[in-house]
Symmetry: C2
Subunit: 349 residues, 2 copies
């Protein structure tokens, strides 16, 4: 039973009440707590030493990542973050300056987005550090995953792939961008890219009951995705064929602990026999880019791009494909249309 | 550096914003999110395998405890629980029926108190299970720890001590009682007993800038506290003197992992060389009773007791002492007044 099957089993029949607008299954839960014109967003996310970060990582960046992941989920709903609680589960030999620096990293990011850190707790997790963050935000309605419609244009912010080389610890959550999108355009569906473009797009497709076609040459491949593949090439050779119909490499930044030793990250450069075969595959399959993936009606595509360039001139927004009514996900390149069967990273798959 | 010193260091300068009514330092954070006449309560709590529960425990009870601890904190603010998020950090060899039964235990308790479980996440924690729960509640104002005044009567619900023998996995969070108290009496200060009566009372005293005197013969010692001491007696003998001025045994239900092997719980009966010397000491020092500890003006003491007996005839409410202006905490028994220097359990002390 993999992570998604387990979640489906556990969440099949959960306790609910009238305050719940949207429960399990989106980036955040949406609640109505009686505040006129506002809805509350509620989210939790944990990072684990050896899984989501190495103990040798800069502790400020660990803190940044812990808080930033929740901020990215608030952003994906078009929300404004309000308050966070921090749970630190620490091994017995924890180092006080290291833990303080983690808090410094969280605090710096929290201040940048006006989030109050209002408490939390410390507990013991003898073998490794675990940091869990809970966050509250607010929005007018909340952009769900479930509103994508046939004919929608699919957009992504920034560039994708290779975040293991550094971005997974340094990414800027797209909080300002998410709020701007929610306020200025009728966004049909949005999600943040944590499990990888293909996997997170599948979440939108499943929730919306639609399919999609991506255009290979439009995918914004990051320099890190190219660097990651070039690092691997001298050791294992570049594969002759790009086999899109086979599973993409499931190795992502969240894989440190689960991967066999030869696949583990070593310092900041991953030694990874299963690295993606091409930079495009890294952009499609790598996780933890924390960019926004969104769907908007085809008619809004050009106005959105024009307005975006004025508002966020330093950040790319790219149309990478379109929603179609037929289920499934395919990739069009110069050789034809390929079915994408692959998944991103799945915990304990 | 112990747990409380670490928390003080980490929370010395946290990011804040105008939504925060009460941040770090109470049972829950209190937020104003624009809902007229309501304030929001926000809390997180984690339990760790081998620390807060043994892997041999009934999984339904593990789930009950995980959710119940947060409910107890909402109760201690006089609040009404609304919604919860569940983080399951699972070892690689987790057992699906076991995890499902944990969720069953959480769901049953959530339904009893009208709490919606609105999501969460699963992640990997290779060596042991960790369950973190975040909870939202609401209240009109929120009863803090900081309002105790000289002359207040100190009350406690239920009976105390020995929860390691079972109650720590089966306790009923005092949600109904906390709401009733908040609605019917001007409660000056309230907390739930998780770290032990003495330790949690100290939290109230510190936050309120006052001291207290407890009356030994009034402390409601539970049958489990007596049983726990009698189990130890045949092995190590009953100590001749009750030394209140020495530290109480710091061993509590939260001690499984940290204690040396000879102190660890064995099945459901603890084999514990450091068990409290008397049932009274167990009642004063043991953690995880999850009863409510509250302060109300002396004039309200008798009306409160009378009303309580009608409302909750099956649950004791006991006046155990009084708040005084002089700092410190003392215990009066037939031999005189003894200063209580002791603490409850402190993680990584």
């Amino acid at each position: 039973m993999n992570e998604f099957e387990l979640i489906a089993k556990l969440t099949a029949s959960l306790s609910s009440n009238p305050a719940v607008v949207t429960g399990v299954g989106d980036d955040c839960a949406v609640l109505d707590v009686g505040a006129p014109g506002r809805r509350l967003l509620f989210k939790t996310d944990a990072i684990v030493e050896g899984i989501h970060f190495l103990p040798t990582a800069d502790p400020r960046k660990i803190g940044h990542k812990a808080l930033g992941r929740c901020l990215s989920d608030i952003a994906a709903m078009g929300g404004r973050p309000l308050a966070a609680l921090i749970t630190l589960a620490l091994p017995s030999n924890f180092d006080v300056p290291f833990v303080s620096a983690i808090y410094d990293g969280m605090n710096a990011l929290a201040r940048r987005y006006g989030v109050a850190i209002v408490g939390g707790e410390t507990t013991t997790n003898p073998e490794r550090m675990l940091i869990s963050v809970s966050m509250l935000g607010e929005c007018s309605n909340g952009i769900l995953r479930s509103g994508a419609k046939s004919g929608d244009a699919i957009f992504v912010t920034g560039e994708l792939g290779g975040s293991i080389l550094g971005k997974h610890l340094e990414f800027e959550p797209r909080v300002a961008e998410g709020q701007w999108l929610a306020e200025h355009f009728p966004i049909h569906a949005m999600i943040d890219i944590s499990d990888g473009l293909v996997n997170d797009l599948r979440h939108i497709l499943k929730a919306s009951g639609v399919g999609a076609e991506l255009l290979a040459k439009s995918i914004p491949v990051s320099p890190a995705a190219r660097q990651r593949c070039s690092k691997v090439a001298p050791l294992w050779g570049r594969p002759p064929v790009c086999r899109f119909q086979e599973p993409l490499a499931p190795w992502t930044p969240t894989d440190f602990g689960a991967a066999p030793a030869h696949k583990r990250a070593c310092g900041s450069v991953p030694i990874n026999a299963s690295a993606p075969e091409t930079p495009l595959m890294a952009a499609l399959g790598d996780g933890e880019d924390f960019e926004l993936l969104l769907c908007v009606s085809g008619k809004q595509a050009v106005p959105l791009l024009d307005a975006w360039k004025k508002q966020f001139p330093a950040l790319r927004l790219t149309c990478i494909g379109k929603i179609r009514s037929e289920p499934g996900l395919s990739l069009r390149d110069k050789t034809g249309i390929h079915t994408l069967e692959s998944h991103g990273y799945v915990h304990f798959a």
